[in-house]
């Protein structure tokens, strides 16, 4: 089993705009992102965010939902209406489902409930950027290394040999293979594979990964799934 320390696969240096009204969280987040080599501009309210977006362009916008002056969702609506296509990850303290739906409807690319690990954020940023770069490869046959997954035909092969998988195992493998080379957090897998908008109390992700590893195991071939400690899993590209 391969275990990586967190943040071993850094993102390329990005221009990130952080909009957060809590001074300490804003400083914490900025410092952490800067430590990873990103250029961070941090502002404290909605109006400042709109101004900042008008003055410069960013790779990612991290937008707190509850903001003084102009609310986060309202900021999002306004910049989308003005044609600003910057990827947006909404940050929220509450995680109410209705808010989530509203946020995504308003044009957010992802939605993250506070508190979150930096690695979780990194994984989300990476996924959002990847999705923007290569949108919707949903129904195609997915390949990573020696593994091929055809979701539609429910077929999986490794090194040319067919492998039998249960429905959930196949969905999980498809997500990992689609994002091969990127870390997927447990939360992301819960959302995408199981479709839950809450965090279950049991370790369903780990149990399925374990099973998947057993199923993919072949003599002489390495484990294609990498465990990223404290974050989630990554499929070898």
């Amino acid at each position: 089993m391969s275990v990586l320390a967190p943040s071993v696969t850094p993102l390329p240096a990005l221009q990130i705009l952080v909009v957060e009204d809590d001074a300490e969280l804003r400083a914490q987040l900025s410092a952490q992102l800067q430590a990873q080599g990103h250029a961070v501009v941090a502002v404290e309210d909605g109006r400042a965010a709109i101004t900042a977006l008008a003055e410069a362009s960013y790779d990612v916008l991290l937008l707190d939902r509850m903001l003084p002056t102009v609310d986060g969702v309202e900021v999002l609506r306004r910049i989308r209406a003005e044609g600003v296509e910057t990827p947006v990850i909404l940050l929220t303290a509450l995680g109410l489902t209705q808010e989530r739906v509203e946020g995504l409807d308003a044009g957010a690319d992802d939605y993250l409930v506070k508190p979150f690990e930096l690695d979780e954020l990194n994984a989300r940023i990476r996924a959002v950027l990847r999705r923007r770069a290569a949108p919707s490869a949903d129904n195609a046959t997915l390949t990573a290394g020696d593994v091929t997954v055809s979701v539609l035909r429910h077929r999986v092969t490794r090194a040319g040999k067919s492998i039998e998988l249960q429905k959930t195992e196949l969905k999980l493998l498809a997500e990992l293979v689609r994002e091969a080379g990127s870390v997927l957090s447990r939360k992301m897998l819960i959302e995408r594979v199981w479709g839950y908008d809450f965090v279950p109390a049991t370790n369903i992700v780990d149990v399925h990964i374990l099973k998947l590893r057993q199923r993919l195991e072949m003599p002489g071939l390495p484990d294609p799934i990498v465990t990223v400690r404290g974050v989630g899993y990554m499929f070898r590209a």
Binding site: L94, G95, T97, V113, P115, L118, T168, V193, V207
Partner: protein, 452 residues
Amino acid sequence: MPRRRLRSLGTIAIGFALALSAAIALAGIGVYVALIDVIDRQVDLRLQAEAHELLEGTPGPALLASRIARESSERESADIGFLLRDAKGATIAGNIAPTHSLPLGFSTVHHDAGISGLSRGRAWKTQLADGGTLALVAESEPIERHDRNRLRILAIGFGAVVALLLLGTVALIRAIGTNIAAIASAADAISHGDLRARVPVDQPRSAFGGLAVTFNRMLDRIGELVASMRGISNDVAHDLRTPLARLHGRLAALAADPAAAPVRHELEAAVAESDEILAIFAAILRISEIEAGQRQAGFETFDLAALAADIAEGLQLMVTESDRAFVAPTAREPVIVEGDPRLFTQAIVNLIENAVTHTPPGTTIRLDVQRDGTSALLVVEDDGPGIPPNEHERALRRFGRLDASRHTRGHGLGLPLAVAVARMHRGSLALQDAQPGLRVALRLSLAPGCSS
């Protein structure tokens, strides 16, 4: 003992109608009796006047007989029957022959007296000085079969009044019922989370209008209270989660720091603890969100059986890997309900996770969905130790964890969340003894038009 109050509008109205009918019937009988009495007295007066005329100057039998003959031929008194008898009872004069003897003074005679053409009448009889008797009889019924006609007239009148009364009662029930239904429907909507529901007010000055205004004012107040409660729970969540998030961030950063190697284990335990606290927050917020009815917007029509089968698929491995057996639902037919499938997903996952957490290895956990009459019935059942019936209620309450489970994992909000989801969908959740084990039964109505 407190007096029983009449609750049903129908009972009140029918009782009222019956009482009024009885009153009208009594009045009718009274009128009938009084009418007869009046007529009798009228006839009595006439008989007395006639007798007075006949006996004027105390005539002897012969004169009296001639006077009788004259009177019976006169138009005015032709309808009066006369009978003059001597002391021995032999008829001297008269135009009637009653079959039985009449008593002295006034009396009522019927057709059984054998007087032709008389069905009811009054008689007056007096003893003459010579020991003979003079009897006068007059009809108290000016028309043939007057009694029966009178009854018919009364019956028609009474019937008309009763019919009008019934119609009025029905209209009254309708009117009151409509007004009450409007109030009830508003209250019902409120109790299911739609805090904007109000009673329509047509005429604020009328009794029902006034009630509606008062009721709406109360709803406004409830709405304010709920909004402020929601505000408080949002504030608490925000104000506590933000510092918790900071704490969590610091601990996680510390745990990742190479310098923290000697205490890493402790730091990771602290991170896990803060995760637990945040999970409790997430659950509390989710429950308040459901209870506040903010999610009615997410309602759609979906197949609960298919959803349960899907969830079973996703959890099967987790349950079996925990050394418990899992019996997934066997979808036989769709069970279509109306609601928020995401909330049902969370409720079902919570119930199954609960069953895993609170039973020993070797337990069998069963999930099933089926139609039961006009309801959908979702059951999560295990053959573990169960919960004693007297603790069922507590197990459904928020933080009502049972002592035995206080040291197991989980925050104990799984059941309360499922209860909140059931209530929000106008359903119910019950704990039952599965003998052995616990059965959680979630029941809600099938979507309209989907029950067969």
